[in-house]
C-alpha cells in the first residue's frame, strides 16, 4: 500500500488563506502568553474522551493531520462523522519497527552532525525526524501532526495515542508541528521538555513522552489511561529528585553560574506562587475572622453605622495597637449578628496553641492591611487579594457568663507579608521593608512609600487607600406576579440547581473539614430568598460559606398584575472589583485575624540573600559538586572501642556516623521509619563523646523531641538543652547540645539568636536548608 497523503498539506492547499482551526487556536494561545496546564487540559481532554469512546466502539479518530480537528471555543473536537474503522498493515509496521526493538540493545538516538569548520559551527540533525518526501524506512517523527504509522498505511488506537500526544505537546510547549524545525526541536528535547517550557507540569511532560514514543510497544496503550493520569495530574507526586543536569541552561553555565541555577531552583521549590499559596492568594476560611465584617451591625439603614463602632484602622484602634494595649473584641465584634464569630475565635486560639507546641512559636497575626493588586505580567485580569501587613498578636479568652475575647499586640513591629514581599520583588522589583514599626511610621507613610515604588515601576498603576468600608446599597424589590402559572414553566425548564463541590481538607495546616461544610451548604435550612426584602431580619451568615448573589433589579413594571415591595439594604463590599487591573487598593477595611504559616519564607529569604551576594561555601560546593573532585575514600568502620552508639545501630548507620568524622558534608535521606532520627542520635552522641559541641536544627519540634528524649533515655539529658525561638527570622526550633566540659565557660549562656545570625550569613546554612527540603 502506498503512503497516504499528508493531510495538513492538503488542507493548506484547499484553503490557502486560512490556517487549520487548530493552528489558529494554537497561535491565539501563544499570543496570549502560552497555554497553561489547565488551559491545555481543558482544550484537549474532551477530545481525548471522544477518541476513547471511538476506541470503545472499535473505531479510530481522524487524527492523521489536523485538518479534521475542530475548535469549539476553547475545546478541541473531531467530527464524529469522520470516525471510522481502523486500517491494518501490521506486517509493514513490524518490519519498520524491527530495528528499534532489536534484541539486546535499544537504539535511542541517531543524528547527523555537520561541522562547519570555517564558520566554527557544528550543526546537528536528529535523524529521528523524517523527511516527508522520502520513503519511510524506519519509525520517525514527521511534520504535519501525523504518525509514521499513518504513512505506512496503518491506523489503530495506538496510533491515535501518538497523534494525541503530539497535540498535547503542541499545546503544552507551544510547538507547531507543521514546521519541520519545531518537530526537530521536539524530538531533540523530548526527554527534557522543560527546556522548551520551564513551566511545564512534570506529569504532563512525562505523559507526552510516553505518548509520543516511536516504538509502539513502549507507548501508552490506551487513551483511557492517559485521561485518568491527566485528570489527576495535580494529585500525582511529580518526581522531585531533580536531575540538576537537566535544568535549563545548566550545561552551558560556568561553575559559578551553576551554583546560582541550583540555588534558584531550590528556592523556587520552597516558594510556591501558585494559587495554592494562601499568603498571596488569600481566601477566607474557617480559620480566619474578618473583624471588620464581623463588626458591621446588621442594621437595615446604613446611615446608623458609626465608623468608631467598626474594627478597622481608625484612631482609637491604631492608638491601642501601637501602644500595646489590649482590645476587648466584644466592643467591636457583633457576636449577636455574627454568631459564627465565637466559634471561629475559639478555633483560632486552639490552632495558635497547637502551633506553639509544635513549632515552638505562635503564628497568630492580625492583618491590618490587605493589598488588592494584579499580576500584570501573567494574568492581568485576575484581582489578587493578599495580606500586606501582619501584626503579631495574642488572643485570649476570659471565661465569664459571656466569654470575653481579648486581643493584645505583642509588638509594634508589623511584618510585611514575606511571601508577597518576595513575590513583588521578583515580579516588579519592589523593595518593601521587612517590617514597619507602627510606633514610628504611620500607615499613611507606608502607603506613600508603596505607592511611589509602584509608580516608579509601572506608572499606570494607582494605589488607592481604602480606609472606610465600602458598602453597596441594594435596593431590593420583591414582586409578586399574580399570574404565577407562567412561572411554573420557567422552573421546570431551569431544573434544580447543582451543588458545588467542596474544597475541604483534614490537613492540620489547612483544616477545612467536610462535615461542617456539608452542614452549612446542605443541612441548615435555607432561608427564603426574599426573607429580607419582605421585612425579615437580615440573615447572619458566615461569609465563607456562600457568596451572596444579588440579581440586578428588574425595571419597575406598570403591570397591574404585579405586587411590589421594596427594601433598601446594604452589603459590605468585600472586593472592589472595578475590573481595572491598574487600580490597586491599599485596603484597611478588612482587618482579619488568623494563623498564618510562613515558616518556609525565612529559608526563601536566605536563598534570595545567597543569590544576591553570590556567597560560596565549602559545604554547599561539597554537596552540589560543581567541579570535578577527588574520589572520596569510603569511610571505614571505626574499631569498636572508638564507636559510641547510644541507641541501636546497624552497619550502614555506623558508616554514616563514621563519615561525619571526616568533616565532609553529606545528606541522609530516607522514607519515614528508616532510622534517620536514630542515626542523628548516635551522631550527636558520637560528637559529644569526642568532646565536640553540636547544634541540632530542625523545623518541627516533634523531631527535636524524638532525639532529645532518646538522648535523655540514655542518661544524656544533662548534656542537652532545648531551645525554641519565636522570632520570624529564626523560625527553626533548636536544640543546643554541648558536652559538660570546660568549653562551656567561654559561652555559658549559649545565644541561639547570635548563632543564627552567624548562620544566616554563612553558606553552611544552605546545606541545612537543602537537607531540610530533601528530607521533606
Amino acid at each position: 500500500m502506498s503512503e497516504t497523503p499528508v493531510s495538513a498539506a492538503a488542507s493548506t492547499a484547499s484553503a490557502p488563506l486560512e490556517p487549520p482551526p487548530f493552528l489558529a487556536f494554537l497561535r491565539r494561545g501563544m499570543e496570549a502568553g502560552g497555554l497553561s496546564t489547565d488551559d491545555t487540559l481543558a482544550a484537549l481532554l474532551p477530545l481525548f474522551s471522544q477518541v476513547a469512546e471511538a476506541h470503545q466502539r472499535g473505531e479510530v479518530a481522524p487524527l492523521d493531520g489536523i485538518a479534521k480537528l475542530r475548535v469549539q471555543e476553547t475545546r478541541l473536537a473531531v467530527d464524529l462523522a469522520e470516525v471510522g474503522p481502523p486500517r491494518k498493515n501490521l506486517s509493514r509496521i513490524e518490519a519498520l519497527q524491527r530495528p528499534i526493538s532489536a534484541n539486546g540493545v535499544e537504539v535511542v538516538g541517531e543524528s547527523h552532525r555537520t561541522t562547519d569548520i570555517d564558520a566554527g559551527r557544528m550543526e546537528q540533525r536528529d535523524l529521528w525526524v523524517g523527511d516527508p518526501g522520502a520513503e519511510l524506512n524506519r519509525p520517525v517523527y514527521l511534520p504535519g501532526y501525523i504518525s509514521w504509522e499513518h504513512r505506512a498505511g496503518h491506523h489503530d488506537p495506538i496510533t491515535d495515542v501518538f497523534s494525541l500526544g503530539l497535540l498535547l505537546a503542541s499545546c503544552a510547549c507551544g510547538l507547531d508541528f507543521t514546521d519541520p524545525e519545531d518537530v526537530e526541536n521536539f524530538a531533540r528535547n523530548r526527554d527534557n521538555l522543560f527546556a522548551l517550557n520551564s513551566q511545564l507540569h512534570p506529569v504532563i511532560a512525562g505523559m507526552i513522552r510516553q505518548m509520543t514514543e516511536l516504538n509502539r510497544h513502549r507507548r501508552v496503550q490506551t487513551v483511557d489511561h492517559v485521561i485518568l493520569r491527566l485528570r489527576r495530574y495535580r494529585d500525582q507526586a511529580a518526581d522531585f529528585a531533580i536531575d540538576f543536569t537537566k535544568l535549563k541552561g545548566y550545561r552551558e553555565s560556568t561553575p559559578k553560574g551553576r551554583g546560582q541555577i541550583i540555588l534558584t531552583h531550590l528556592r523556587n521549590r520552597l516558594f510556591e506562587i501558585s494559587r495554592r499559596n494562601r499568603l498571596i492568594y488569600y481566601k477566607p476560611t474557617l480559620q480566619t475572622l474578618n473583624l471588620t465584617l464581623a463588626s458591621v451591625p446588621l442594621l437595615l439603614d446604613h446611615r446608623n453605622i458609626q465608623p468608631e463602632q467598626l474594627f478597622l484602622w481608625h484612631p482609637a484602634i491604631a492608638r491601642a495597637l501601637t501602644k500595646g494595649d489590649s482590645i476587648v473584641l466584644g466592643h467591636y465584634v457583633r457576636f449577636e449578628d455574627a454568631p459564627y464569630a465565637a466559634g471561629v475565635l475559639d478555633q483560632i486560639i486552639a490552632t495558635e496553641k497547637r502551633d506553639r507546641q509544635e513549632f515552638g512559636f505562635a503564628q497568630l497575626r492580625l492583618v491590618i492591611c490587605f493589598l488588592r493588586w494584579h499580576n500584570l505580567k501573567e494574568s492581568p485580569q485576575e484581582r489578587i487579594h493578599s495580606p500586606l501587613l501582619l501584626l503579631p498578636v495574642e488572643l485570649t479568652r476570659k471565661k465569664g457568663v459571656r466569654d470575653a475575647y481579648v486581643l493584645r499586640p505583642l509588638t509594634t513591629l508589623a511584618e510585611v507579608n514575606p511571601a508577597l514581599r518576595h513575590h513583588l520583588r521578583q515580579l516588579y522589583g519592589l523593595n518593601l521593608p521587612e517590617s514597619v514599626d507602627l510606633a514610628e511610621t504611620t500607615l499613611d507613610a507606608f502607603h506613600q512609600l508603596l505607592a511611589e515604588q509602584i509608580r516608579a515601576s509601572e506608572p499606570g498603576v494607582t494605589l488607592v487607600k481604602q480606609d472606610r468600608p465600602q458598602i453597596e446599597l441594594i435596593h431590593e424589590r420583591a414582586r409578586q406576579r399574580l399570574d404565577q402559572f407562567r412561572r411554573r414553566q420557567q422552573i421546570a425548564a431551569r431544573g434544580p440547581r447543582r451543588f458545588e463541590s467542596f474544597d475541604y481538607s483534614y490537613d492540620r495546616d489547612r483544616f477545612r473539614p467536610l462535615g461542617l461544610q456539608l452542614f452549612h451548604a446542605r443541612i441548615k435550612p435555607a432561608r427564603s430568598p426574599f426573607a429580607q426584602v419582605t421585612g425579615g431580619r437580615p440573615v447572619p451568615e458566615a461569609p465563607h460559606f456562600r457568596a451572596h448573589i444579588i440579581e440586578p433589579a428588574a425595571p419597575t413594571s406598570a403591570d397591574p398584575r404585579v405586587l411590589e415591595k421594596e427594601q433598601q439594604m446594604f452589603a459590605l463590599k468585600q472586593q472592589s472589583d472595578s475590573g481595572n487591573p491598574y487600580a490597586w487598593d491599599f485596603d484597611l477595611c478588612n482587618v482579619t485575624l488568623g494563623n498564618f504559616n510562613y515558616r518556609k519564607m525565612s529559608l526563601v529569604q536566605d536563598y534570595a540573600a545567597l543569590l544576591e551576594h553570590e556567597l560560596t561555601g565549602p559545604a554547599f560546593d561539597a554537596i552540589f559538586t560543581l567541579t570535578p573532585r577527588e574520589r572520596e575514600e569510603p569511610p571505614v568502620t571505626p574499631p569498636l572501642r572508638e564507636q559510641f552508639p547510644v541507641v541501636e545501630c546497624d552497619p550502614t548507620q555506623t558508616l554514616a556516623v563514621a563519615r561525619a568524622r571526616t568533616g565532609r558534608s553529606y545528606i541522609i535521606q530516607g522514607p519515614p521509619g528508616t532510622g534517620k532520627s536514630q542515626t542523628i542520635t548516635n551522631l550527636i552522641a558520637d560528637f559529644v563523646a569526642r568532646g565536640k559541641r553540636v547544634l541540632f536544627v530542625c523545623e518541627k519540634r516533634a523531631a527535636i523531641d524524638v532525639v532529645f528524649h532518646r538522648l535523655g533515655r540514655q542518661g544524656l539529658a544533662f548534656t542537652t538543652r532545648r531551645r525554641t525561638s519565636a522570632t520570624s527570622s529564626a523560625t527553626s526550633s533548636r536544640l543546643t547540645k554541648r558536652s559538660s566540659t570546660s568549653r562551656l565557660t567561654k559561652q555559658s549562656t549559649f545565644d541561639a539568636t547570635s548563632c543564627c545570625g552567624r548562620w544566616r550569613t554563612n553558606s553552611r546554612r544552605c546545606s541545612a536548608g537543602a537537607m531540610r527540603s530533601r528530607a521533606k
Binding site: 411554573r488 422552573i491 456539608l518 452542614f519 426574599f530
Partner: protein, 441 residues
C-alpha cells in the same frame, strides 16, 4: 390569582402558555367494598400540613407579605377574558351529563363556588386543568376528554380538579403555602431545598386531588381507569390489570417518583388503591413512593430541619464525654450551632440511633464526616476521639465506612484503623469487656 392544577403532567405548551392540569380517570366498575373508602375525610396530607406550618413559623415576614396580597379585580377579569378568547365554553343545556357530573362532584366535595367548564381549542392532548380564583373555579378540558370518558370517569376527573379548588379555598393556608413555594423556587437565588420542597408539595397535592376524585366516585377502579385513559388515549382500559402492573413494578424494586409536577401514573394508581383499601401504613407507603430514600442532595426544607436537629443530637451524643470538650472541640461545635449545649456525661439517644439506622448512604457519609471533623479538630486528643467515633459508628453498623473514611481523609494507617474498629466492635458487643470512652478518660 391562582393557579391551576392539571390532571396529568403536560409537557407541551398549550394555547394559554401555562399548564395546570388534573387528570386521570377511570371506568366505573361496581364499587362494593370501596364505598367505605369514601368516608375518609379529605384532609391535607401530613407533608402539606407540616410544610405550611414550617413556612408560617420560619418565614413569618414572607408569609405575612404573601397573605397581604389580594387578587386584583383586573387580573381576575383578565383571566376570564383570556379563557373566553381561547376556549369554547360549555353550558348545561347542551351537556347535561357533564353538568350533572359536576354537580355531583361539587356536592360530594362540598364545593359551593360557581364552576365554569371550557373546552380548549386546537389542542389534542388529553388533559384537564383548573384555574382557581377565590370563590370561583374554571375548568378547562383539553382534547377529546368528553368522548373518551364515561360519565363516572368524568366525575372522577372533575372530582380531582375540584379537590384542588377545595384545597386552595377555605382559609387559604394551602394556597398561600403553594404560592410562596412557587415564588421561592422561581427565584434565581433559590436553593435546591426550595426547589425540592416545591416539587414535593406539588406531588402531594396531586395525591390529595386523587383522593378527592376517589371521594366523589367511591371506586378506585374508576379513578384509575380515568387516569390511564387520559394518559394513553385508550378507549378500553382494565384498571385491575393496571393495578397488577403497578404492584409488579413495586415488587421488583423500591421505586420512587421522578416526576416534577405529577407522580407517575403507576404511583398514583397504587396510592389510590392503598387509600381506598385503607391499607395499614398507607401514609408511610405514600411518603416512600414520593420521597424515597432521602439523600443529602435532595433534602427539602423539612428534611433540612429534621437533619439539623439530628446533627445537633448526633454531636451531643458524640461529644458527651467530658474529656473530649477541649477548647478546639467547643469552638468547632459552635461553628455548627452558636448556642451548642453539651449533653451530660453518659447521655444516650437511642431514638436518634434508631432514626438513623436506615439512612441513605449519603446521609450516613455525612454523619461519618461529622465524626471525622471532631476526631481531627484537636490533635492533642490524639486517637481518643476516633476511638469513640468507632464505637458510635459500630452501633449503627457504620464502622466499615468510617474505617475507609478515616484512612482516606485522616491518613490513619490502615492497620491502625482496623484495630480501632475491631476494638469498637468488641466493646459494643460486650459492653463490659472493654472500657467505654468515658471510663478510659
Amino acid at each position: 390569582m391562582e393557579p391551576t392544577a392539571s390532571y396529568r403532567h403536560n409537557s407541551s405548551d398549550n394555547d394559554f402558555g401555562w399548564t395546570l392540569i388534573l387528570t386521570a380517570i377511570a371506568v366505573p366498575a361496581a364499587s362494593r367494598a370501596f364505598m367505605a373508602a369514601a368516608d375518609h375525610s379529605l384532609l391535607p396530607l401530613p407533608y402539606q400540613d407540616a410544610l405550611a406550618d414550617y413556612l408560617k413559623a420560619e418565614e413569618p415576614e414572607t408569609w405575612a407579605w404573601f397573605d397581604s396580597a389580594e387578587v386584583k379585580s383586573e387580573f381576575a377579569e383578565n383571566l376570564r377574558l383570556e379563557l373566553l378568547k381561547q376556549t369554547f365554553r360549555l353550558d348545561a343545556t347542551t351537556y347535561p351529563e357533564l353538568f350533572a357530573a359536576l354537580h355531583d362532584a361539587q356536592v360530594k366535595l362540598g364545593v359551593d363556588s360557581p364552576v365554569t367548564i371550557y373546552q380548549a381549542q386546537g389542542n389534542n392532548q388529553l388533559n384537564a386543568a383548573i384555574y382557581h380564583l377565590p370563590g370561583e373555579a374554571h375548568i378547562v378540558l383539553e382534547g377529546a376528554v368528553l368522548q373518551l370518558l364515561n360519565p363516572a370517569e368524568l366525575r372522577a376527573v372533575l372530582g380531582h380538579e375540584l379537590a384542588h379548588h377545595q384545597l386552595w379555598g377555605g382559609t387559604g393556608r394551602m394556597l398561600l403555602a403553594d404560592r410562596i413555594l412557587q415564588t421561592m423556587a422561581a427565584d434565581p437565588r433559590a436553593q435546591p431545598s426550595h426547589f425540592e420542597s416545591h416539587r414535593l408539595m406539588r406531588l402531594y397535592t396531586e395525591i390529595y386531588a386523587d383522593r378527592g376524585s376517589l371521594r366523589v366516585i367511591g371506586d378506585p377502579h374508576v379513578v384509575i381507569s380515568a387516569l390511564v385513559k387520559l394518559a394513553t388515549g385508550l378507549t378500553q382500559v382494565d384498571p385491575a390489570s393496571y393495578i397488577r402492573q403497578a404492584e409488579e413494578i413495586f415488587a421488583r424494586s423500591k421505586v420512587k417518583t421522578e416526576g416534577v409536577s405529577h407522580p407517575e401514573a403507576f404511583i398514583r394508581a397504587r396510592a389510590v388503591m392503598l387509600w381506598a383499601e385503607n391499607a395499614p401504613n398507607v401514609e408511610q407507603e405514600i411518603v416512600r413512593m414520593i420521597e424515597g430514600d432521602r439523600s443529602l442532595d435532595k433534602l427539602d426544607l423539612l428534611g433540612q430541619q429534621r437533619m439539623t436537629a439530628f446533627t445537633r443530637r448526633w454531636l451531643q451524643l458524640f461529644l458527651r464525654p467530658s474529656w473530649i470538650r477541649t477548647d478546639a472541640v467547643r469552638g468547632q461545635a459552635r461553628l455548627f450551632f452558636p448556642d451548642f449545649d453539651f449533653a451530660t456525661e453518659g447521655h444516650r439517644d437511642d431514638a436518634l440511633v434508631e432514626a438513623l439506622r436506615d439512612a441513605s448512604t449519603s446521609v450516613r457519609d455525612y454523619f461519618c464526616y461529622l465524626l471525622l471533623d471532631f476526631s481531627a479538630v484537636d490533635a492533642e486528643l490524639e486517637m481518643e476521639p476516633l476511638k469513640a467515633a468507632f464505637i458510635l459508628a459500630s452501633e449503627l453498623g457504620w464502622d466499615e465506612r468510617l474505617e475507609a473514611l478515616a484512612v482516606k481523609e485522616l491518613k490513619v494507617k490502615k492497620r491502625e484503623a482496623q484495630k480501632l474498629r475491631a476494638e469498637a466492635r468488641a466493646s459494643v458487643e460486650k459492653p463490659d469487656a472493654v472500657p467505654t470512652p468515658e471510663a478510659s478518660a
